[in-house]
Symmetry: C2
Subunit: 357 residues, 2 copies
């Protein structure tokens, strides 16, 4: 089925990219002087297979809990994941605020939040919330056992794909995000396994651990690496990931299959994207990277994926907030691409004439 | 008078900054996890002396020509400056497109465009254009003589201040930009004189010169430095600057006096800001830097001003376009500051309780 591997990723659209580049070179500015904003327009054209568009855009945040938090790897209690679900829906979370501000629909998908919460929906003021059936499936403590069984992993992949299929069909850009206390531990373990890193090179502060808690987090990841010792990306996500990370893999794959550009948030989403690219390298072409996270492992992933993120603002919140901070750059790139005059149209002289000094 | 030095710059508002920081620390996110977006809110509060606001914002672009182009220092003919005036007003220039897209009024001020152009105003579709009387004043070739007399320099400073005073009084952020074929040569000369650099460390490609033209540009700056040999910032802007650069100094000074945040564009505006800070170091507090330009001299200015720009996108167009690309980050910072829930208000547990592992 389309929501599980093998995925059928579209080819890079060389013709749409060439058309976009040719247009960029006629606009009233020195060639290349808009830097990454020119490249973004061309990349979007290549991904989308037509004129670049940043809208409609949708933000999809997958949320889940991690039994590994029992080892004290996070600065926050696991109850925060549940409390944030209500905060998303009520419109008080950072992602809710940015989505409202930018006119982007926010969809929160509970794929495994452990504690009860009030799923009160105030008419879409903050976010649309869906609890996927996979949320009720069991999850293990990645330190001592596989986080996900094969069946649960498959269901989480499909939960991600289903959310993409539920988006309006004309969606052009999907911003992916995560919520889950403990998930920087999972992402660090994925990163270390897939890139062959020592735990201390993949583990960072997450929501803000330091000292003894940081040392514990490194030890937890070390135990997980010893236990798994496998580089197969499916096995890695199953063994040390989580439901929201598997859902992110499934969502990104489905979005890329459908020629939606995937705007990648921070460390957690990037770890999922690294796994997806290891599953099928052609997926890389559908991804745009929003931000260089302050998380230690993130730089290693970006380097492995030869990604040059749009922003470097020291953010480390997740929730798609870095992707949301970067979306206006895609908007600007598309507005410029569409709206600027050409040298010929505006009667602006292009380049010095031959014979000028 | 207020539009000329000595300026009366407001103090950093420590109380407004502390209030903003305290609010940031109550919002439903780990402290500091929004990175520069938190700092931006605090800095805006400090500059503006109250709750941070990114709007109303106005973009002001000063345009002028430079006789130094006769030495072939630019890839484009000087006629482009005039042609771009029409393009701004008609709405086809990059700055026009971004202003329309972002809901920011664009004001173009001709302070010395040499060639005739059609100042047709299509009802504000693109920009509001004003030709300041200083536009008719003489300007010299900075290679062999002072660009501006003392009187013209004073008038250009005042032209900049007057434009700020013509903005709606509730304007909170001013985006400053430039247009002028040849003005990267002037900016490089200012940078080299004020920072004691060799010409080759201050001169870059500008609109796209390379090879022999780049060598000529370096020689022109070398001649200017030999001629001037002075570090007084007023004298430097007079001797090797231009009317739009002097106007940028005057505009920024007036905006900062009025507690408007100045969002600095790229190399040209930064050279003007360097001069202003050398005139009065207190001006630095009112500036936010949008972008690290691809221009060689820009990195040196940013370092001298200990500025960490918001973006690094390889842009080198001017026209306030980099400031316009960065404005949505100020918008996002303010939206988050105002709109996010607090831990207490959203009943989200803050930090692990004592006794947790």
């Amino acid at each position: 089925m389309a929501s599980s591997p093998p995925w059928v990723f579209p080819e890079h659209d060389a013709r749409a990219a060439a058309t976009a580049r040719a247009r960029q070179d006629t606009l009233t500015k020195p060639r290349g002087s808009l830097g990454a904003l020119e490249d973004l327009a061309v990349e979007l054209a290549s991904i989308q297979g037509g004129p670049p568009a940043s809208r409609p855009a949708a933000a999809v945040v997958f949320a889940a809990d991690h039994p590994v938090t029992r080892h004290g790897v996070s600065a926050y209690p696991a109850e925060v994941t549940a409390a944030m679900m209500t905060n998303f829906v009520r419109g008080g979370a950072a992602a809710s605020v940015l989505c409202r501000h930018l006119g982007v629909e926010l969809r929160i998908v509970d794929v495994g939040v452990a504690h009860p919460y009030n799923p009160i929906d105030l008419g879409g003021a903050g976010a649309r919330l869906r609890r996927d059936p996979v949320a009720g499936d069991p999850i293990g403590d990645l330190r001592v056992e596989d986080a996900l069984s094969e069946a649960v992993y498959e269901r989480a992949l499909r939960a991600g794909a289903a959310e993409i299929d539920a988006l309006p069909g004309d969606t052009r850009v999907v911003l992916l995000g995560d919520m889950g206390i403990g998930n920087t531990t999972a992402a660090a373990a994925i990163t270390a396994l897939l890139l062959g890193l020592a735990p201390e090179d993949a583990v960072g502060a997450g929501t803000g651990v330091e000292g003894a808690a940081l040392a514990r987090k490194i030890e937890v990841v070390r135990d997980a690496l010893r236990r798994v010792q496998d580089g197969d990306p499916h096995r890695v996500v199953r063994a040390v990931g989580g439901k929201e990370i598997a859902a992110l893999v499934g969502a990104a794959a489905r979005a890329i299959e459908r020629r939606m550009a995937v705007l990648v948030d921070g460390f957690i989403v990037s770890a999922a994207m690294l796994a997806l690219v290891r599953m099928d390298a052609r997926a890389r072409r559908g991804m745009l990277f929003a931000h260089r996270s302050a998380e230690r492992g993130h730089a290693r992933i970006l380097s492995a994926l030869t990604a040059r993120p749009l922003l470097d603002l020291g953010m480390r919140l997740g929730e798609a907030t870095a992707a949301l901070a970067a979306l206006p750059l895609l908007d600007a790139a598309c507005a410029l691409h569409t709206g600027m005059a050409t040298f010929a149209g505006a009667s602006v002289p292009d380049r010095a004439q031959p014979g000028r000094p």
